[in-house]
Assembly symmetry: C2
Homo-oligomer: 281 residues x 2
Amino acid sequence: MPELLTPLSANRAAGGWQHRFAHRSAVLDCDMKFAVYLPPQATAHHKVPVLYWLSGLTCTEENFIQKAGAQRMAAQLGLAIVCPDTSPRGDDVANDPGYDLGQGAGFYLNATQAPWAAHYRMHDYVVHELPALVEAELPILPVRGIAGHSMGGHGALTLALRNPGRYQSISAFAPICHPSATPWGQKAFRAYLGDHPDAWREWDASLLLAQARDPVPTLVDQGDADEFLARELQPEALENAARSAGYPLTLRRHAGYDHSYYFIASLIDEHLQHHARALIK
Amino acid sequence: MPELLTPLSANRAAGGWQHRFAHRSAVLDCDMKFAVYLPPQATAHHKVPVLYWLSGLTCTEENFIQKAGAQRMAAQLGLAIVCPDTSPRGDDVANDPGYDLGQGAGFYLNATQAPWAAHYRMHDYVVHELPALVEAELPILPVRGIAGHSMGGHGALTLALRNPGRYQSISAFAPICHPSATPWGQKAFRAYLGDHPDAWREWDASLLLAQARDPVPTLVDQGDADEFLARELQPEALENAARSAGYPLTLRRHAGYDHSYYFIASLIDEHLQHHARALIK
């Protein structure tokens, strides 16, 4: 039987191991890479809960593991962190010259429109295929939190809200909160989902949260100097939906912080602690 | 009067600010960039001690600030961190096709040989010109520690050992400990200093440390899975010199760690605490 995971790199980090693997994705019909941090508590005889981290536009599986400084707290808490890529990849995968559509910009949804529908099924990949793989091949429990940044914050919120019971905790940095009403989201939704408002509603965190029936503790941090705040992110839409629905959202605004990884690195420990409270009993 | 510092970027980080600046270096006779983290304690009315961080081969002023995750502990301690580039830069600055000589590989020395001597004076730049600039223009005290990685670890050790009284604390990750006897160092020394063994001795940490008269608390961390350990780094030379000289060196070996920034990020907090013990009273 061929190995399912091809090791790309392994670096000791904070007492555990930062791995990168390649594998064949049946769902996406292409070769994919992902990163996983295994804390020292994860051994052949002991599995650990896991946080899925979804990155933003233009990122790969490497940005978070290099820039967030998350490994030390993950090691303290005993949390694994799985970081998928941000889209299907490869020469035969549809692409677009813009940074905000196509490869590097999968928006964590299942595309229905040509030429995207052939490979762009990041929802199914992140929610089903990748967890099944890492839970079978690595010392990782089916006890899952989900987090992300910007497009990945949209991903974390929508994937959790669409799949009640699958994630015990949610967090996001500077998420795209209302993509059906903002430019990045509209461009992506028009391409991937077509001009179908009903389809767009199914991938919009603020609209999904207004109808959520299975509340999960949700932490969102937003910098008030974020260059994309008003045009692309619109956290007030999420806040209003949570208020109407009585949803357990904690949304914090932080003076002076921008959209960069410096913001993430400044607060990642608090996000990991937020997830650990739900995932580690 | 023209501004001495041209702001390149400023990102709020861990309650302080991660800055990058450009400036004209008279010593190097070229335009240079550097990064400085100012913790929240640094204000117009309150200056803070400073750690100089020297990066390794191929790096710029950006690697450490993006990958080490140092800002949170620096903010807690109230330490500024200044990160110079690793060589003079520019189209009219001598270069070499190899990654281990020329731009990105200044070795923190003053070159004496053509064509390098015209610009390659990183010792004088890091020890004198850059501190004078940041202490005049930013809320930074003349209370200095120095640290670095690989070629920058060599730099931290040699600059401190050559300049008694100028640095109150030293640390290094995986430093080149005995460059006059190892390939990277020999290639650089031959080019920058010529075939003059007496000149090489003046830039070799193990040889300098054997004769040090002004001991400074020195912490060195080395991974035992470092791919450059035996060929390029030779920490045992530094250890032997310290033992003979009775020098206060703490050299720790860490199982499984390699030469990457994951090693630095895993232990940077302990290095910052080491410096703070000497710099913050």
